[in-house]
């Protein structure tokens, strides 16, 4: 009970911190949202009065603490404002974009996890043999290759040369499951290839560590076949912490997804933030980052709890 209270407190603290940082970062970056909104005309001198009026309309003429206060007050009540370009409510925009990003990351994890686990465990079991070397090589290459580069290669091969799959775009699962799948294959493959590097290295390192533990020596002393020892004992010991790691990966991946979304033209949160920043659309950026943060924290938290439930030592 106390733990839950503690974690909720930490969650709120983190959210507050994120909100302040996003708010400040936007105000500190050059560019005037009102000027951007008025477009090329704003270069003319007689536009000043219009600009000033727009600024006061948007509340930009107030002091920063007051602006922050107004925004927070609205956010707490569930109002994230609206885009000052399209007028669409930010919440609506985010909840349209978030599933796209979550699908991308989720599917990439589903593809990457089993492959990484297999490579990591088999690689560790053959640490000093050729197989171990090959696994380490695969992991390093995969880690060192940016997802967007893999994406470009994939588009080149499967969309341009072979014309098997669309090069970009997004169709909602609800509209057409087949088209949804077609559009997701390449971005998921690109992101998964990169994730395999990170996760394989983790599983491998963990399995190497576990294999040196006295309880694995006990298993050997009992004459258990190597297959049983590696796939049952080493694997379970090494994979429990992976749950938490995979959860934490989601956060890191949203950052990485920005590039993939851009490359494959997926209307996810990455795109939303990017366009918001470029257009100085404060409300959109602030709202998107905040809502996404909530999701990331929740997923991390769930993974952490799941990890604690699976590990018998932490259960009690």
């Amino acid at each position: 009970m106390r733990l839950i209270a503690l974690r909720t407190g930490r969650l709120i603290g983190l959210l507050w911190l994120v909100s302040v940082l996003v708010f400040l970062a936007l105000r500190l970056s050059p560019g005037d949202p009102a000027a951007m909104l008025l477009g090329p005309k704003s270069g003319r001198v007689d536009i000043e009065p219009a600009l000033a009026e727009l600024r006061s309309q948007m509340g930009l003429d107030r002091s920063l603490p007051v602006q922050y206060g107004i925004w927070t007050k609205r956010v707490v009540m569930g109002d994230f404002g609206a885009s000052n370009r399209s007028g669409v409510p930010v919440r609506e925009m985010v909840f349209e974009a978030l599933p796209v990003t979550l699908w991308l990351i989720g599917l990439a994890l589903v593809v990457a996890l089993p492959i990484s686990i297999f490579l990591g465990i088999v690689g560790a079991a053959n640490e000093r043999r050729a197989i171990g070397r090959v696994v380490r090589l695969i992991a390093t290459i995969s880690l060192a290759t940016p997802a967007f580069w893999i994406g470009i290669i994939l588009i080149e091969i499967f969309a341009v040369k072979l014309d098997w799959l669309p090069a970009g775009g997004y169709v909602s699962l609800l509209d057409s499951p087949v088209e949804f799948a077609e559009h997701m294959v390449l971005p998921v493959a690109a992101l998964a290839t990169f994730m395999i590097g990170v996760l394989t290295r983790y599983v491998y390192a963990e399995a190497i560590e576990v294999r040196r533990q006295p309880y694995i020596r006990t298993a050997h002393a009992e004459g258990l076949p190597g297959r049983v020892i590696e796939l049952r004992f080493v694997a379970r010991n090494a994979l429990i912490p992976l749950i938490a790691v995979a959860g934490a990966q989601v956060g890191a991946l949203i950052g990485g997804a920005v590039l993939s979304e851009q490359l494959f033209g997926l209307p996810g949160v990455g795109q939303l933030v990017l366009n918001g920043v470029l257009g100085r659309d404060y409300q959109v950026v602030q709202g998107t980052v905040l809502i996404t943060t909530v999701f990331v924290l929740l997923i991390t938290e769930v993974a952490e709890v799941a990890y604690r439930l699976v590990d018998p030592r932490l259960r009690t």
């Binding site: 000093r128 533990q213 006295p214 309880y215 694995i216 020596r217 006990t218 298993a219 050997h220 002393a221 009992e222 004459g223 258990l224 076949p225 190597g226 049983v228 049952r232 004992f233 379970r236 010991n237 429990i240 590990d311 018998p312 030592r313």
Partner: protein, 355 residues
């Protein structure tokens, strides 16, 4: 796994080269001229220099020495459990069990023997059990994988094994995770796991060192009765001469990677011949002896194999002379059943020394 050695070095040949006559044995289990060196990076160190010992059927043999004497390495080597990437066995090392040579066996052949014929109990009950498996599941794993036993049959066997190590709440313990058990309970579980496949020989590496003295006594008496009941042999590896004194029939004393004295346990305890053994006994508090100062051995044990010439114990020995510093003493028969590697052993009756 273990480097291949000449198979002929097994019995007579290997022994013939040595001046000792080994303990009375029908060659049930025998280690001859075991040498183990460890390689880490560019440095080579010796864990065991020269160890020969024998365990007969249904006997309790003790292997005693300070930490670093090579006794645990010997125990691990006996089942081929040393890390093959760092440990190498000496050319003439031989380990035989019921007529079969274990050195040079394939991993598959070794697995047939591990657990089923020779089992080992490790010293660290906190880490020797897998923390994320229920006690029963990890104990049953060997039965299920090696003997293709059904889940319920295996469970039954595990329950019996837990019972035989005097765990009364076996139904509760079988479904517990290791961290939910006390140290003594965990050690019992480990012993129970070792007994599961009814092995002929049990190697126990410091089975009670991590436990409270009272728990130690319980576990030792349990072990004693189980081993006697099943007519098993046990090789008990320990640093605690008090433990072996009550437990063992026969004793080997190891120092800096070599066996320096061996003989019937009672005789060694009552009249030790090697100055090192005398020192070891002097370090043990006794209940009967009244108040007396505990003697400690001066200095510390050299790293096995570091001292190239002479007796490894010479720097700490009050009797050491030029001979000791230049010539490594050989194991020789001192009196029937008692062997010794010392230039100036204690003469029990007169207190004089040889030579």
């Amino acid at each position: 796994m273990i480097r291949q050695h000449a198979g002929s070095g097994r019995s007579e040949l290997a022994l013939g080269r040595r001046t000792s006559s080994e303990a009375p044995t029908e060659r049930f289990f025998q280690i001859s001229n075991l040498a183990v060196s460890f390689r880490s990076g560019d440095t080579q160190s010796l864990g065991v220099v020269d160890c020969s010992l024998a365990v007969s059927e249904a006997t309790r043999v003790g292997l005693i020495g300070e930490s670093g004497s090579g006794k645990s390495v010997t125990a691990l080597a006996a089942l081929g459990l040393l890390d093959p990437t760092t440990a190498t066995l000496g050319e003439s090392s031989s380990i035989s069990f019921m007529g079969r040579e274990l050195v040079g066996m394939t991993l598959g052949e070794l697995r047939e023997i591990r657990g089923s014929e020779i089992a080992i109990v490790f010293q660290d009950p906190m880490n020797a059990l897998n923390p994320v498996f229920r006690v029963g599941d990890q104990m049953a794993a060997a039965l299920r994988a090696k003997h293709k036993m059904s889940r319920s049959d295996a469970r039954q066997r595990v329950l019996e094994a837990l019972h035989s190590v005097e765990i009364h709440a076996s139904e509760r313990v079988i479904d517990a995770y290791p961290h939910q058990l006390s140290g003594g309970m965990r050690q019992r579980v480990l012993i129970g796991a070792a007994l599961l496949e009814r092995p002929r020989l049990l190697i126990a590496d410091e089975p009670t060192s991590a436990l409270d003295v009272t728990v130690q006594a319980d576990i030792l008496s349990m072990l004693h009765s189980v081993v006697t009941e099943r007519r098993m042999s046990i090789l008990l590896v320990t640093h605690d001469i008090g433990v072996v004194a009550q437990f063992c029939d026969y004793l080997y004393v190891m120092y800096a990677g070599r066996i320096v004295e061996s003989g019937p346990a009672r005789e060694i305890i009552s009249s030790p011949l090697h100055p090192y053994t005398i020192g070891l006994l002097g370090c043990t508090p006794s209940l009967e002896g009244g108040r007396r100062r505990l003697v400690t051995l001066p200095g510390s044990q050299p790293v096995a194999g570091r001292a190239n010439a002479g007796c490894a114990f010479a720097p700490r020995c009050s009797r050491a002379d030029g001979l000791c510093r230049h010539l490594t003493p050989k194991m020789v028969t001192h009196s029937p059943g008692r062997n010794l590697a010392c230039h100036h052993p204690e003469i029990p009756s007169t207190g004089r020394t040889l030579e």
